[in-house]
């Protein structure tokens, strides 16, 4: 006990430690946020390279570059890495950096567990990526790992995939508990829930979703593990189980998961648009209620991913109507963003460009989602490139654009330097063109009947696939420019002021740029700025 007290009193420095061990031992929310963001960017590039392999193979019909077995491993790993390694950790990184600053807290509620949540991830992803070099190859059953492809017919590396998912789940659950507890317990005295910035609200709800569904994912991979190694019959009809059971449990996790990847994006955009429209966010209360409604609905729509497996007609109708209901709260959000911009004094810095592109392109992805929700139509669209186009529209110009918008928006606060605006705009336009050239033609080939997850295709799809691949290469290489801009900004640039953006509101803009290593060691008293 005495050792603890001594250590406590000896330590009177407040800056970061020197060297690499700073990052390994840190309990500081800003350091851990930075770790999450860099890790996510590394995974984004890794998953991106896999996407480049996929698009290179699909550049022309026929087999040119890789064998079908390896192609399947690429689609599987690309999906898993982007979902669990790139998008989710990026949002956790943003939460780490921003939530304590936005609510006037000194740090996250459980700082050591915060470090634990992060450092599990590099181990988990090393294990998953190492399966590429194992006998029998990496997982090759698609990111949704449907049984029995992922059980009876899976390569031996599936065991390590299962444990990697367990580790990611443990990391996510601990990270989410930390976010929820921080928001509920560490708000500055006097800050009511309905005064919190919308980013904090969306993360509170996202964290709730994560705590609710990551254990279900752990459950389903455990069932797989038991079926593979211990002779259980969860997904074997011969033993009285059912492969469709896998899909039900998986999508009970999987549907809330897609909202986990978009709700924090809503929060980011709700912070950026008011700043550059120089108006308060239109309909704050309705934004909060819409977010909660989307989260609630996400639990009761899962079987719309399974319309073609043969569920009873009453079930199909129920899941169709329930799914369409989600368009209502989502529509509320889109209209609120548009109303915020309406007659605003707008300027178009890079974060705003990404945010506006988000609103437009995410809405396109939302509409194609509505098309997919219609049961009889879905029988045609199911497992075609139309589905690929749909979820890439909500995930790339949706989630990923919002993460980039957030990076540009808060980089000056993080680094103390302004990024290079003209390079940022170049990055935006290259990305915007690249994304649309890549994914828009996929709607057409999908409607024409091209199936997803295949290395070869009929000649009639050749032109659009070539266009799509060229767009993908453009988008992929543009991200190296992003890396360059971020590094340039860290190394120097025009000094940023505290407020950074003329129209910015919120507690994080009341502290100096770069944000000091420890902020709000005493709680802020003036909360007028809190609600962005």
């Amino acid at each position: 006990m005495s050792a603890v007290i001594e250590e406590h009193h000896d330590d009177h420095h407040h800056g970061p430690d020197k060297g690499i061990l700073r990052w390994v031992f840190t309990t500081n929310h800003k350091d851990i946020g930075t770790l999450y963001l860099w890790f996510s960017f590394l995974m984004f590039l890794t998953g991106g390279c896999m996407a480049m392999v996929i698009r290179a193979e699909l550049f022309q019909p026929g087999l040119q570059i890789v064998q079908p077995e390896f192609f399947n491993q690429m689609t599987t790993m690309h999906g898993l890495i982007m979902v669990f390694g790139a998008v989710m950790p990026a949002f956790v990184g943003l939460a780490n950096w921003l939530v304590p600053m936005m609510i006037g807290a000194p740090d996250m509620a459980l700082p050591r567990m915060n470090n634990y949540s992060f450092w599990i991830l590099p181990f988990a992803f090393s294990m998953m990526l190492s399966s590429l070099f194992m006998e029998g190859g990496a997982p090759n059953f698609g990111w949704t790992f449907y049984a029995p492809l992922s059980t009876e017919y899976a390569p031996p590396s599936v065991t390590f995939f299962i444990f990697a998912v367990h580790l990611m789940g443990i990391s996510s659950i601990m990270g989410s508990i930390n976010v929820v507890v921080t928001i509920l317990n560490l708000r500055a005295p006097g800050m009511r829930l309905m005064q919190m910035p919308l980013f904090v609200w969306t993360w509170l709800i996202t964290a709730y979703l994560l705590i609710a569904v990551m254990p279900v994912l752990a459950g389903v991979v455990t069932m797989m593990l038991m079926d593979i190694h211990f002779g259980t019959a969860f997904f074997s009809a011969g033993g009285g189980g059912d492969p469709v059971l896998f899909q039900h449990v998986f999508w009970f996790f999987g549907h809330p998961e897609v909202y986990i990847m978009i709700l924090p994006a809503f929060g980011v955009v709700s912070a950026i648009i008011p700043t550059f429209a120089r108006k308060r966010l239109f309909g704050y209360d309705s934004m909060v209620y819409a977010t909660a409604s989307i989260a609630f609905l996400s639990f009761i729509v899962w079987a719309h991913h399974m319309f073609t497996v043969g569920i009873p007609i009453a079930g199909e109708l129920y899941f169709m109507y329930a799914t369409m209901l989600i368009a209502v709260p989502t529509g509320v959000k889109v209209f609120n963003w548009v109303a915020t911009m309406w007659r605003g004094s707008m300027s178009f810095e890079t974060p705003m460009l990404f945010a506006i592109a988000f609103v437009i392109l995410f809405t396109i992805g939302g509409f194609s989602g509505l098309m997919l929700a219609i049961v009889p139509a879905d029988f045609q669209y199911h497992d075609t490139y139309f589905v690929v186009a749909h979820f890439h529209y909500v995930l790339v110009p949706g989630s990923v654009f919002s993460i980039m918008a957030a990076a540009y928006y808060w980089l000056p606060k993080w680094t103390g330097n302004m990024y290079d605006e003209s390079l940022g705009k170049t990055h935006f336009w290259l990305s915007f063109i690249g994304v649309n050239v890549t994914f828009f033609p996929q709607h057409f080939v999908g409607l024409a009947g091209m199936p997803r997850r295949i290395p070869d295709y009929a000649l009639q799809f050749a032109d659009y696939n070539m266009i799509s691949s060229m767009g993908a290469f453009l988008f992929g290489f543009s991200q190296l420019l992003f890396l360059f801009i971020v590094i340039k900004c860290i190394r120097g640039g025009k000094k940023a002021t505290s407020q950074v953006w003329e129209g910015a509101h919120g507690l994080e803009w009341t502290i100096p740029s770069p944000a000091p290593y420890h902020t709000f060691s005493t709680p802020p008293e003036d909360l007028r700025e809190a609600h962005g």
Partner: protein, 300 residues
Amino acid sequence: MPSEDTYESYYVPHNSMLPIFASLGIFLTVYGVGNMLNEAKAGIDSSFGMLVFLTGGLLLGGTLFAWFSKVIAENHAKMYSDQMNRSYVWGMSWFIFSEVMFFSAFFGALFYVRMFVVDWIGGEGDRGPSGMLWPDYTPAWPMLETPDPSRFPGPHEVMSPWGLPLINTVLLVTSSFTVTIAHHGIKEGNRQKLNLWLALTIALGVVFLFVQAYEYYHAYTELGLTLSSGIYGTTFFMLTGFHGAHVTLGTFMLAVMMGRALKGHFDAEDCFGFEAAAWYWHFVDVVWLGLFIFVYVLGG
């Protein structure tokens, strides 16, 4: 600049080596288990997986021990404010919620199988190929005969709820009361009451586990009810097995609390460690009631 522990006397811990060792430990643990499973499946005689698993398990266990010791020591050094203690209370509540969701997945699987799959494989609702694959299969629950008995030989009989499971129900429900009485002991400052009733709770937990082990032995040797005897055995053993694992963890937590109680820890104002273990214990009790109703009574 004010010191970082002046925020409502909120203590932000300094750099810590604990999490990285815990990360390495948990990784080695699962990597070792993965290797053991794959070695067994491929018929490779190797102790590599076991060695990695043991190294990882020791590292993880040792780190967690150091971690909890440090938190307790910090608490005793009065470094935590009331607000900070609330973080632990919230954290434990949400952790239990995540455990509830984990069990939901397995209960959901049981309900889905019973409500739909049994009849569908039996041919109800024009389910097509299963009728062609297994024309002799007749749907029933408990599923004594599986569609493919050569691969999944069904049990002769399933566990009756009114024998061992009823005893276990009585044991576990009683233990929820005894742990509450022990809690009252803390609140009243009656150490003897705390020690006695907590010891009794732990004893009830241990007896529960022995009865369950005997039940499993009975199922495997006499009833032919095993993990691989089709979906009945699958759901039976996975639900009761995960519950048993949680009882084991809960008993371990209570045993740690017993050790702390004997060292004089806990008083009426400061006993969250004990309360967290007690909450966890009530949670495993409630799960058991669900198991008793849905697995044993309605499923037997």
